[in-house]
Point group: none
Chain length 216, copies 4
Amino acid sequence: MGGVKSKRVPRAVREQQMMDAAVLTFARRGYRAASMDEIAEVAGVSKPLVYLYLNSKEELFTAVIQREAAALVAAVRGAVEQGAAADRQLWSGLKGFFAHTAEHPEGWAVLHQQARTHGEPFALEVAAMRAEIIEFVTGLIGAAAREAGCDESLAEREVSGLAHALVGSAESLAEWANARPEDARPSAKETAATLMNFAWTGLGPLMGGERWAPGG
Amino acid sequence: MGGVKSKRVPRAVREQQMMDAAVLTFARRGYRAASMDEIAEVAGVSKPLVYLYLNSKEELFTAVIQREAAALVAAVRGAVEQGAAADRQLWSGLKGFFAHTAEHPEGWAVLHQQARTHGEPFALEVAAMRAEIIEFVTGLIGAAAREAGCDESLAEREVSGLAHALVGSAESLAEWANARPEDARPSAKETAATLMNFAWTGLGPLMGGERWAPGG
Amino acid sequence: MGGVKSKRVPRAVREQQMMDAAVLTFARRGYRAASMDEIAEVAGVSKPLVYLYLNSKEELFTAVIQREAAALVAAVRGAVEQGAAADRQLWSGLKGFFAHTAEHPEGWAVLHQQARTHGEPFALEVAAMRAEIIEFVTGLIGAAAREAGCDESLAEREVSGLAHALVGSAESLAEWANARPEDARPSAKETAATLMNFAWTGLGPLMGGERWAPGG
Amino acid sequence: MGGVKSKRVPRAVREQQMMDAAVLTFARRGYRAASMDEIAEVAGVSKPLVYLYLNSKEELFTAVIQREAAALVAAVRGAVEQGAAADRQLWSGLKGFFAHTAEHPEGWAVLHQQARTHGEPFALEVAAMRAEIIEFVTGLIGAAAREAGCDESLAEREVSGLAHALVGSAESLAEWANARPEDARPSAKETAATLMNFAWTGLGPLMGGERWAPGG
DNA sequence: AATGAATGAGCTTTCATTCAT
DNA sequence: GATGAATGAAAGCTCATTCAT
């Protein structure tokens, strides 16, 4: 591996190559089992160069987490139909989320599986990203409540729980979708639809035949 | 830990002590970062004894996973009100689930965070347990559909997605609840209620003021 | 392994069982790689009992070497036709030697391969046995010289070298014979004949058509 | 040992230093008892470097065996007077053999004592080298037979036995010579002469006063 | 006469990290 | 900008040996 030997590459580019290699390797082996040797080899450079640019395994991992987290948030934010109704905003955001996690399965695996399970410093990094998304969803739920004209009926705390449940189920579904064999893997749209039906309509009404549908 | 030095303990007992220590240590450090030295120390025995009884780190981890998975499944099964309506069964099962994960946070962390992220052999162990629960939930959704008189309206595949979404959101909530500071941690009942409202009623109806409530 | 569980066996018998197990295990694994655990298991007893009777791995090995060495010397001495001509004595002694090493391949392997290659204390034990045999052979060569009427013609030192060469070649042949596949393994008599032709007649005369034969 | 601290040595050189150290240590302690720690220390490097270059104890041992075997075969081949009469060829080859084993006692000990007694993979390595030499000796015996005009008189199988006996006795003598105290150690020439007298002339004729001598 | 329970010490191996060029 | 050479520290695992019964 390591592809074509390309010497004398500018620092910024090399750093990205190293982080790409790191994402792959962390996803494949797990944080601890991934060795700097393998990362360097996959990146096609010598180990000292990795240290020269990224300083240490911890810093490298942190850098990777931050890069992947930022990319994910950007993808979601970019997908949301700003100004639309709450359910439409959620729907579009979810499509963006599932599309990104499907296109970057290793990045998602690093964020969702590795970063959260290998010590506080890394977990906090992910928590920060998650907080951003939770805040966004919380806002949406509040907006939906106002749209429905039900002021005060939802306690702050209840909303927080709901937002966590929603985000959590989205994360679970993303992992589940990526783990499926390629030929049975649902599209981002399908996954988002499943979640909207589940979370917006609710199982009870669903049983009664109701469905959520992307409205006007 | 390490507690009182109790020498000459029968094998069966020592094995449980070792597995207790292992659960704690795997949860605290992660599978790879947990050292057999630390596990032995926490168990209050020498390392060779751990190897004598549990053979290797992998086997110890597997044994731990199996024990914790069995305990969790037993807790959920034991909590379900058999014969009740589908929503009541789900409600009681969820209470059992959240109660168990709250009482055994390390066991839950090992199952949810460690076992699934450190290689196929371990992940498969958890997958087997998960399959058991998914099957149960799938059955409940089917029952609910029949109760509501909506034959055929739910495709096999849609049900599977919904079951995954439900179980996934329960897992996420359990993790979230356990991660909260102790004084802000919701009770199992509260967490179960949040999830029932979210998943059974649905966000849409919820906004309209509807609530799910444990019916007669 | 370990055969039938026979409890409460007198010490002398148990010790022999243990040494049998040790011979087998040392031959199979080598001195260092043979574990006291395996020896105890093969002997069908618990490890502490081995220590109670044989004290340590070193002492066990020493005891094994001494027993096997004594048995081999006894076999050779018993086979020699006392009073016969020198070449007949050698011939009968060699037959005894090859017969014993063929019937006790593990014992021979321990003496020849293990005892000599794992430190002075053990090597000396074998050297003592070897000295006994070398002395016997040296005597035979001296006798042969007298029979042939060639006094003084053989220096002390030359005789010693010849005796070593003869014994060494016998040892090599024994190892070689035991290492052959069972169906191609020569009998003790055949091996002894090969050696007599080689060592007594000599390759030169042999080429001229001469052969050694067990004379009257 | 460990000698002068010479830092930053090219890999090829270091590898030879490590193998030198390994030969010494394996000969002194035996394969199993030799620790990688001691080998590294004798080589004057850190243990990880030994692993970096030689990969594992098994591979290191194999590399050592192959190097020493090749050196021994080269020494013998180089010493043989090609084209001379069969006995002269044998005589010169033996001198080369005993000279090499005397100059490289540790290498010889590793080949003869350690490699053959620590498991198939290593034993096969030595067997391959031995087969080369046996083949050479077999050829010589055949040539001698032709020179003496005795066609057909020697069965294939008998020749094989004789070659093994000859090589075996040479090996035994080499070991014996190296084991003697330095002041009583025979020269390579003396040892070769002893063996020629023993093996070529034969004890019987020898007793009658005949001697083998390096002919014209 | 015999054993289940237990350990100190040591081994092979790996890894994150640095130095000198 | 880039690397071959090198290591301190620790991890998983095993073994000879002993204690208490």
